[in-house]
Structure formats: C-alpha cells, structure tokens
C-alpha cells in the first residue's frame, strides 16, 4: 500500500511556490542560484576502507554515502556470462525529520530502483568482465546508498556517488579456474558514466537541483538520466503533479546540459583510468 506522504500543501507552501515562481521569472532562485545552476558538488572516494569502493558526495548540504561490497556467487540462469549488481538505498533518519527508521519505504525503494536502472541501462559496468566461470562463479556487487543529510534532491548525488564508488572500487582477482590470485586486485570495468539531473517544474518554468524548500514547493519534478553520448537511459517523474507536454523538450535539453557539466567535474575529481572505458 502506497500511502501519501504527509507533505501538506498548505497555505504557506502556496505562498513559497508563488515566490519561487516570481524569482524564476527574473532568472533567480531563493538561494542566489540561477535556475540552471547546481549547488556546489563535492566528491570524496575511499572514505570507508572496509568497503571495496566508497564515495561521499555532497550537493549543497545534501550528503550521500555509497559503499560497495563485493562477494562471489552464481550468475542469473539467463545471464550465465555476466556478473551481478544490486542497488539498495536507505534514507537514514539522521538525514531528515521526514525519514523514519525501519526498512526502506517507497521513497528509498524508488531511489534504489532509479539508480539501478541508470547504471544498468546506461551500461555503466561491463558485466561480462565480472564473470569468473561462466554459469558458475561471478562477482556480485552490492551497491548500498545512504542518505546522510537531506536538503533536497537525493537522486543526482546518489547517482554520482554510486558511479564514483564504482569507478574507484577494487576487487580481488580470481583466475579463470576460480582460484584467488593472491595479492592481486582489479578495478570494476567501467564502460560509461551515466549521470542524472533532477528538474523541478513550477507552471512553465524549470529549475535544476531543487533544494528542500524548493522541492516542497514545486508543482512536480522529474529525474532524467543520460549516458555520455546524451542518450536518455532512465527517466522518473518522481512526485505528484502535471508536466505540460510542451515542456518536455526543454526538460531533456536542460538535463543534457547539466549532466554534461557534472560529467566534466566527475572526470576531473574521480580521474577514471582510460582503459576499458570507452565513453567517459
């Protein structure tokens, strides 16, 4: 059963919505940004030594920690030559008074599934290189995302942190006969770095990377994920409300531009090795 979250579109919210809209008309935001401007993005990797890969990414005050644990297991029977990955996300109650302790609710599940689709459909990982013995032994990557501090927009930094953790993830090497090659490690074979941009909509205006106050006052919002060739690889309208059909083209174009900027920073900070990475 999917319950409506207790976000009340009360009178004050409507006033804030009106205020944000008026600022947008002047090309402004409540926090001094322009409509198509992300908050400051920081990316730190290898922050948890016990994880095979990890990244702490912040977008403004929103902070996401992703860790990856690698285990060995059997492949899916219809994909005998491919490794496996699984994404989980928890909206920690530390991060916001609106997050409850307990198993992931619909928001955490949605976040995990959108990040999963972004990685999967964006062909981020060369899964065949994560196969050790076809049909028998493959690497399993558990990509676990934790929202530590939540000031709006947990989708985009989650995708970044998942990709940053993947791009710096180290896994023990196994021979084709399934034996551990003592002391040797390999990187996760990255094929592409799909990224996302969340677009907020008020009436006919768009903004990117909504902060929490904006998020609560939007008409609606949409997450667009693209690969490095600007293919759309995942979309999620992730809140109630209408998107005028006439806005869709602008939404895609704005997302493309934002993602391209984030990708530039990602390349600079994470410094992906070229080998085996075709697009990034």
């Amino acid at each position: 059963m999917s319950f409506l979250p207790l976000k009340e579109r009360s009178f004050t919210v409507k006033i804030m919505s009106e205020k944000i809209y008026k600022l947008l008309q002047q090309g402004k935001r409540i926090d001094e940004r322009t409509p198509y401007e992300f908050r400051k993005i920081t990316m730190q990797t290898n922050v948890v030594e016990k994880a095979n890969g990890s990244a702490l990414v912040s977008v403004g005050s929103t902070r996401i920690l992703t860790g990856i644990k690698v285990e060995l297991g059997t492949p899916y029977s219809d994909r005998p030559n491919e490794g496996v990955f699984s994404v989980n996300a928890e909206l920690l109650p530390l991060a916001s008074k609106s997050f409850e302790p307990g198993p992931p609710d619909e928001r955490g599940i949605e976040l995990a599934r959108v990040v999963d689709r972004c990685i999967r459909e964006g062909k981020a990982i060369d899964l065949e290189k994560l196969c050790i013995i076809p049909g028998k032994l493959v690497y399993i990557l558990y990509i676990d995302i934790y929202v530590l501090d939540y000031d709006g927009n947990y989708f985009d930094p989650s995708v970044i942190s998942a990709m940053a953790a993947l791009a710096t993830c180290t896994i023990p090497k196994y021979s084709a006969t399934g034996e551990r090659v003592e002391g040797e490690y390999m990187r996760v074979p990255i094929r592409d770095v799909p990224l996302s941009s969340t677009i907020g909509i008020i009436k006919d205006k768009l903004l990117v990377d909504p902060c929490l106050v904006e998020e609560n006052s939007l008409d609606t919002s949409i997450v667009v994920c693209m690969d490095s060739a600007s293919n759309v690889v995942a979309i999620q309208k992730n809140s109630p409300g209408h998107i005028p059909l006439s806005l869709m083209e602008s939404i895609i174009n704005v997302a493309e531009e934002q993602i391209s900027r984030i990708r530039t920073q990602f390349k600079e900070v994470i410094g992906i090795e070229k080998e085996g990475r075709e697009h990034c």
Partner: protein
C-alpha cells in the same frame, strides 16, 4: 543454464510477433462497475494484460493521526497475483510493486480534487490478474475509471500506455516479450483534458529524437484509450459523461 537468444521482434514486413504494426495497440476491453462491493471499479484488458481496479472512499482516514486537515489522503496499491507472470511471483509486495504503487498514486493525486475531502482517505486498489506488458499503464487507466465510477470529483480522466523501442523501432504498447528483449520501455500517463503528463518513466536507451518520437506515439495511443474509457463510462452512465 543457457544464454537466452533474443528473438527477432519485428519481421521484414514490419510486423511484430503478434502481427501488429509498430503503431498498433493490442485489442482492448474496458468496463466499469465490475466489482459490486467497492465504491467504484473498472476492468482493463489489453491483449493478455488483465487488470482490475477498485476504489473505496472518500471515508474517514484511519488511523486518525494519518489524516491531513485540508485534504484527503490517497492510498494506492498496485499488486499482482502470484500466477500473473511467467515465473510465479512471490506472495507479498515486491520492491517493484511498491515503486509502481507510488508512481501510480502520484499520477492519480494530480487529477483528484483531494482538497474537497479534508481528513478523509481514498483507497485505490489495482490487481493485475495477468501481466503481459503495460500493467502499470493499464492499472492507471483502470484506476482513473474506478475513481470516476466512484463519483470522486476529478479534473479529468487519465489514460496511459507504454511505448517501447525494439529492433531499433519505436513501437506502441509493447508486450512482455517486447519489453524483455527490447531496447527501451517508456510508460506514460496523460491527462488528456489538460494535455499534461502525470506519469512518466523510462527504462532503456533512447536518443533524444527517439524519445520525442515515442512521446508522440504515446499521445496517439492515449487518444484511442481515452475514447474507449469514455465509451465504457457512456455504456454504464449514458450520454451525461461526455464532459469528463
């Protein structure tokens, strides 16, 4: 343990596995008031995809601390029977069902006049009896009809359909096998009255042009579904419903 071979999904004549052209919908069957005990209900069949929706409410929110002072809460459960899919689905709600419940609920919230029923609750239940692609869109189509059948005031109906990309071609209303072996699946829900999108997801890879093309194809399909919705209401309620 054998790697599954992707079948050819569109033949040399441009026909799909079930004989359809790329822009054809599957045979459709839409009915309202199909379940006696709910306040409103609908049944939608699109090929082998078969979905019921039922609505209860508006009613007192329960437990009370969930009530919202200035509007109704809308609850939604999208659920599949264990035998609706090729592989038996586990009992209980999967993560997929929880996600789809959320996006369908959010689409419905976009059109229901919730503020007319403060402190109330409206429950929407969708049951997928058979899943052959397009269950969330069929479920949303059915749910919006069930709300209308329950007499709940709305800005308008929602009609929904998926488009896909298979063998490089943008197609309307993909079946399960086309979804499984295709390159992309994009479910879309539209409120035809206002020409706005209320549900949009994409899973797969499309160029910007293909995305635009898909969006246009979806609108065409949605017009047909919307007509079928209105006819179903008309069969039940007569000519008075034309303005929905």
């Amino acid at each position: 343990m054998t790697q599954v071979i992707k079948p050819k999904l569109i033949d040399e004549n441009g026909r799909r596995l079930d004989g359809r052209g790329p822009t054809d919908l599957r045979p459709m069957k839409i009915e309202v008031s199909v379940l006696e005990k709910s306040d409103g209900s609908a049944y939608v069949e699109l090929g082998k995809t078969k979905v019921y929706a039922a609505v209860y409410g508006p009613k007192e929110a329960h437990p009370k601390h969930l009530a919202i002072p200035d509007r109704a809460i809308l609850n939604c459960r999208y659920h599949m029977t264990s035998f609706s899919t090729d592989e038996r689905k586990i009992l209980g709600m999967t993560r997929r069902e929880i996600e789809l419940s959320k996006v369908i609920r959010e689409a419905l919230e976009s059109v229901v006049f919730l503020e007319e029923f403060p402190r109330s609750a409206i429950d929407v239940f969708i049951e997928v009896v058979q899943a052959d692609g397009g269950t969330r869109t069929a479920g949303l189509t059915a749910a919006s009809l069930a709300l209308a059948d329950a007499g709940i005031p709305m800005r308008g109906l929602i009609a929904a359909v998926a488009v896909g990309k298979v063998d490089g071609t943008i197609i309307l209303d993909p079946s399960d096998i086309e979804d499984k072996y295709g390159e992309a699946d994009m479910p879309i829900g539209i409120a035809p009255g206002s020409n706005t999108i209320v549900l949009l997801q994409l899973n797969g890879k499309m160029t910007k042009d293909e995305f635009k093309q898909g969006l246009e194809l979806a609108q065409m399909g949605i017009q047909k579904i919307y007509q079928a919705q209105r006819e179903a209401l008309r069969r039940k309620y007569g000519a008075s419903v034309t303005e929905v």
